[in-house]
């Protein structure tokens, strides 16, 4: 079975995380679970990759972190949550355009012929 190469997908980890954060603020494991589900289990993001992305994006101002408990009444374990910022939204849009272009270009060179 072909596995996804981490070199190729690296540039789009941020896009995936931002896509999820656009819907609602979320925390580490929840985000990695959603990435796995949305990709039909074809891509599993590594914990270190995810954390590196959080740190880098927070530094760049794309996301913000805050601490909260998962249940509304404050029960449950307190976790670090992340939410997308205005700049993050902009960055996400740019990444989408970039991908569309990349896909279009690469597509020309992909063939089903064996």
């Amino acid at each position: 079975m072909v596995e996804i190469s981490s070199d190729v997908i690296r540039g789009y980890n941020d896009t995936m995380i931002l896509y999820i954060l656009r819907q609602a603020p979320s925390y580490g494991y929840e985000i990695s679970k959603q990435i796995k589900q949305l990709s039909d289990g074809k891509y599993i993001i590594k914990e270190t990759t995810l954390y590196s992305a959080f740190t880098r994006m927070e530094k760049n101002g794309y996301i913000e972190s805050f601490t909260a408990a998962p249940e509304a009444d404050g029960s449950g374990k307190r976790r670090t949550y992340y939410r997308i910022t205005g700049i993050g939204q902009q960055y996400y849009n740019e990444k989408c355009e970039e991908w569309n272009l990349t896909k279009e270009v690469v597509e020309h060179f992909i063939t089903a012929d064996k």
Binding site: G28, K46, T48, S52, T55, R56, K77, R79
Partner: protein, 329 residues
Amino acid sequence: METIKKYLEAMFANLPRTPEVVKAKDELWQMMEDKYNEMISEGRSENEAVGTVISEFGNLDELAETLGLEQAVEESHELMETTPRRQLCMDEVRDFLHAQMARGVMLGLGVMLCITCSVWVIMLSGTFLEGIGVLLMFIQVALAVGLFLFSAKRNAAWKYLDKEPCQADFATTEYVASEKDRYHKGLIGQRSLGIILCATSWVPALVFDTMGLTNHFIIDNLIAAVLLLMVGIGVAMIINSSIVRASFEKILKINDEKTMSSRYVEAQKVLYENPRLNDIMSVYWPTVTCIYLSYSFLTFNWGSSWFIWPIAGIMHSMIKRRMGMVKQG
């Protein structure tokens, strides 16, 4: 779960202890724990959950890059090769703690024997057994010296803990920390009881005095003997509890405070602004003991010479408060 924790500890062991690294480790642990818990609640086996969590962890190089630690990681690898730390194992640390408990008992007992050695002389004075009293006193001092020498000789085996750089793993330091917690209340109680015994040692004398019973020499001698016994037992308790507590702290601060290798607890250490005072204070209690014994033997004034102990204690805490700085991690 333990396996995952150990895995994470091992991964972080040689990274510098900076706020960023501590935070990264906490966050990664949170994610791993969440993933593990969910797999278990889905009915997967422990082995499967642990295997998945570890295989999906990733690698630390990636993290080092984000945290700006490439250089630090390299340096710590180099340091490991150039100056390896002696790795302490669990059994060794357990032996050390047991040895220190025995040492606490021996030193406490020794000092008690010294303080109470004149009880025989006091009790038997004025009787035909006076000579035997003196003999018993010397036997007691000899026993005390024997205890001091024996425990010093046994303690020499652990000198490498001070001289060589050592390292204890996570499980070992956790064990020591839990033992420290377990003994904490007992040690505080023992120490307080010791202080109370010393501080109230004059109470029997006062009671008998107000009852007007102090003029009979047997009662006077008895009061002096009780006083010495109380001070002796009290000091023994203080010494024993301090030694046991110090042994826990020694292991807990054995790891390099700059790396994440395991629990690091900075013991409260008093430092004096004047470096010369540091040297003087390190021999404070032996000097006091020496003065006490010489004065008492020269004047045979055992009934009041014990007074040096409370005075020395008050002076010690005054010097500490006035000129000392408590260094804390």
